[in-house]
């Protein structure tokens, strides 16, 4: 049994959670932008950031775990169309993140050699990495659009706070 939470306290907790989610998502987007631009960052930073990005991705998933469990434990036909789409779409994004990460590791030029593990250049893994990374950009663009109302609300709130 769970103890009843006073409405004011639960409201404050919700505000904190939203703020926490916002900060994490902004950080995730910035790191993703940097990871997606190896020409700008250089291969070494690209590879280290590619490893580091898994931490905010993990937190992003854990903080939305209730939603994940909800959509995967309910019968698909009972879910609204948009949620059904989001379920399979987000699963695809998760798979793509791992495919990009693993293929990147398989041809690592800086990260693995720094840990004492040499890997030879491989055209297959380079192709898989490029395709999965481009697909990820597409999927993250769609992911952003699907949550655009929330993003716009947060931006509006920040703007009005800044003005006052």
């Amino acid at each position: 049994m769970t103890a009843a939470v006073p409405p004011a306290e639960s409201g404050a907790r919700k505000v904190n959670q939203t703020r926490r989610n916002w900060l994490l998502d902004v950080a995730l987007l910035i790191v993703f932008m940097l990871v997606s631009a190896p020409i700008t960052t250089g291969i070494t930073l690209h590879e280290w950031l590619g490893l580091i990005i898994f931490v905010p991705v993990l937190y992003h998933l854990l903080w939305h775990w209730k939603w994940v469990v909800g959509v995967f434990t309910q019968a698909t036909r009972k879910l609204p169309g948009q949620t059904k789409f989001a379920k399979w779409f987000n699963l695809g994004l998760f798979v793509m993140i791992i495919v990009a990460g693993v293929s990147g590791l398989m041809m690592s030029e800086a990260l693995l050699p720094a840990l004492g593990w040499q890997v030879a250049p491989d055209n297959f893994w380079l192709t898989v990495h490029k395709v999965s990374a481009t697909l990820m950009m597409f999927l993250i663009g769609v992911h952003l659009a699907l949550h655009w109302r929330w993003v716009a609300n947060q931006l509006r709130r920040k703007q009005s706070k800044g003005a006052s």
């Binding site: 993703f32 932008m33 997606s36 700008t40 055209n123």
Partner: protein
């Protein structure tokens, strides 16, 4: 589900997808791709203007796909609203 359980599920899913990805490397198509000479230039960070240009591709791709999705969602919502308010839908007996 507790966060600990969620972590285990995520870890198992990650390991399974990683193994699946590694298995791709044993496909015949992988061998033929390996046999091809790599034309792609990887290399280090570029200097000056080209360095900033690197950020344009992800920005453009993400922005374009986000914009297209928003357009499709808005059009689909508008179409559904129009269907709901259509006189055929509100006619008696329907």
């Amino acid at each position: 589900m507790k966060n600990w359980n969620a972590g285990v599920v995520l870890l198992v899913a990650t390991v399974l997808i990683s193994l699946f990805t590694l298995a791709l490397g044993y496909l015949p198509v992988a061998e033929s791709l390996r046999a091809m000479q790599s034309q792609a230039a990887r290399g280090g960070a570029s200097q000056g203007a080209l360095s900033i240009v690197g950020l344009v591709k992800p920005l453009l791709l993400m922005g374009a796909f986000a914009g297209m999705t928003l357009l499709v969602v808005n059009m689909s919502n508008a179409w559904q609203r129009r269907r709901k308010t259509s006189p055929l839908d509100t006619a008696p007996g329907r």
